[in-house]
């Protein structure tokens, strides 16, 4: 029983990070129609900023996370204005731009932080909390989980309970109709990009003390984020969250009871099956031309 409960705890933490990444990706895709391949690198930038501000400059961890959120949000805003807006009618161009940015950010990380061993980011919250005999969660993981979950709740509240959130969802559903209602598409696109990027930045910032902080850390994450968004339904925020939880539990349990490589392979297989059987994903909707 211990192992099942401990695996659930592990999966819960993974769920929160997968959801943060996937929701950001979905926001950007939903509003702008662009698949942001540089999303994993925004996550990497968030982790590097925590390494710099917290581990190198001695800032408090939470202040470093906040700084990472703000800076990566600004990077997102700049991306929207300079890379994606000129390509609004050319989704392929936007995708290519995002791939270019991916490489630029990786090279910048190499230039700034070098390569080799991972950047050392000590945990800000040491020790662990014993939930039950044989079941524990590291304090750093607990803090990361709470912040990630709180952020997701805030995003949900923002999107469902505020006028700007409604506007954002309206643009995601039908950009032209939203524009006819007087919604400023440029502003909403910037908001979506900034918010999506900021969430990736926060995910990277929170996980920095728990993973390998290195220039190529975004690779694996973006694959997971794509699996989650496709399974959840591209463009569906609630689908992304649900798929993140399901995928995290699935991957964690298969890793624990079988093997991590098998878990990843099976995850990709599930994505393929979903694409074949239900291309709209768990909660996506078919859009007629």
């Amino acid at each position: 029983m211990d192992i099942i409960l401990q695996t659930c705890v592990n999966a819960l933490v993974a769920s929160a990070f997968f959801a943060l990444m996937a929701v950001g990706l979905v926001l950007i895709f939903g509003v702008m129609g662009i698949i942001n391949f540089a999303h994993g690198e925004l996550y990497m930038v968030g982790a590097y900023l925590v390494w710099y501000f917290y581990a190198s400059q001695g800032w408090p961890f939470l202040a470093a996370v906040l700084a990472a959120f703000l800076i990566v949000t600004v990077i997102g805003l700049l991306m929207e204005r300079t890379l994606f807006r000129p390509m609004r009618d050319n989704p392929l161009g936007g995708l290519i731009n995002s791939i270019g940015l991916l490489f630029i950010l990786q090279v910048l990380a190499v230039q700034v932080g070098g390569v080799g061993l991972m950047k050392n980011v000590p945990p800000a919250y040491r020790g662990s909390l014993d939930l039950l005999p044989g079941v524990s969660i590291g304090n750093q993981r607990l803090v990361a989980l709470v912040i990630a979950a709180a952020l997701l709740v805030c995003i949900w509240y923002f999107l469902t309970r505020t006028k700007v959130g409604w506007a954002l969802r309206a643009v995601a559903q039908d950009r032209d109709a939203a524009a006819l209602q007087g919604i400023n598409i440029d502003r909403i696109s910037m908001l979506a990009m900034g918010l999506g990027a900021g969430m990736a930045g926060v995910a990277g910032a929170l996980i920095a003390p728990l993973t390998r902080v290195e220039p190529y850390m975004g690779h694996g994450v973006i694959i997971t984020a794509f699996i989650v968004t496709i399974v959840g339904g591209i463009g569906s925020l609630s689908g992304a969250v649900l798929a993140a939880v399901l995928y995290a539990f699935f991957h964690t349990f298969v890793t624990t009871y079988w093997n991590g490589t098998v878990a990843t392979m099976m995850g990709l297989l599930i994505m393929l099956v979903v694409l074949i059987v239900k291309p709209t994903g768990i909660m996506g909707t078919r859009v007629s031309e």
């Binding site: 211990d2 192992i3 401990q6 695996t7 592990n10 933490v13 993974a14 190499v110 390569v115 080799g116 061993l117 991972m118 050392n120 000590p122 945990p123 040491r126 662990s128 014993d130 044989g134 524990s136 969660i137 590291g138 993981r141 728990l210 993973t211 390998r212 290195e214 190529y216 850390m217 690779h219 694996g220 994450v221 964690t252 890793t255 624990t256 009871y257 093997n259 991590g260 490589t261 990843t264």
Partner: protein, 424 residues
Amino acid sequence: MGITRRDLLTATAGTAILGSSVIPRIGFGATKTVKIGFLAPLTGEVSAWGLPGLYGCEVLVKNINAAGGVKIGDDTYTLEIASFDDEYLPDKALQGFKKLVSEEDVKFVMMLGGDPWPGVQRFANQSKMLATTLLPSDLSPDTPYLLAPCEVHPIYNVTGVEYLARNFPDAKRAVICAQNDSLGIPSVATYEAAFEAAGIEVVDVNIFDPATTDFAPLVTSLLAKKPDIFCYDTAYADFVNLIAQQLHNQGYKGLQISCTCDNYPQIVEKTSKEFMEGFIFQFPDFDDPMLNEPFINFPEPNKFFADYNAAHPGTWTAVSWEYPSIVLQWIEAAKMAGSIEPMQVLEAMKGKPSWPHIFGEADWWGQDLWGINNALVGKWPVVVIRDGKAVIAEYGDIPAWWAKNKDVMIKRMRDRNQMWDQRA
């Protein structure tokens, strides 16, 4: 009493390292330059076993050159390291090997080995270039010009297990985790053999994807087997770091053993001194007093450690001294051959059944495992963390272990398809 090879090595390389402030610079004639190739991962996740080695060689070569270089035959040479980043990829390694041999005109090539070696092997043979690897699992009858003169990974891991079994006789259940690659798998076979020889049951082996970033599930899975011993195998430095954190968070209190524990002060900082107390691995810090034993063939290791850390603080890893020790061996062989030409140096090194390994006189060995006696095998240190600091606990005797447990090792290697005749 005659002059031993250690005396000779220490007198040549050692005087160079001591520098001109201690020993007067010899009035050599016009000096030539000999280039030494360094082909290893300098970027990426395996770079911890490449880049610090390059740093170590640069520190060593700087000191040697500052003291006037080395006299080989009738000529005096300064040394130059020509490096290439193989990114731990076979095709990049081949590109680098060709560049080093054809364009840089190096006289031997030091490699980490492992995954990149198969890409290089054919060209290395064709060019008859002396090359060295830290991973003797690269050796086979088809590698006549490849030597493993320093590290005999993963065979020396048996010394750590032997020490553990002797000092903790109640520990009877071990789990092993390893990344799935040419470093991890032969090491798994070695640990399995060593545990079996010590009467310790391996209750689980988890071979994970090197792309793994979250080790919580892996640790949960292994701790469910209630082990007395957690074996990290030859996990990459970053993996050991992250897995140790997870073990600490999930409340593990048993014994730990690993091939390496690079940057262990970081792990101590992230976990605790108590958690890391007694952690067994195989690579000493070079400020260890036990490295001043008379049989050690590395001049002034403590000074080298200080010079290295002054030049490259915080980067010391298992390989920081290994590549430099190979440079010293090459110098010794070139002096003996009176030539820098690869085949003559190789002949000098292999011309005798034994050769001065860094941890004492060692034999050319390996026929049983790799089909060729091109690895130097002798003593190897067992390192233990005590009060947050790595110290050498003892020098283990690999040939003695082999004499008793050869069959077990060969069986385990064969079970994991790691014998040279199984590696197509």
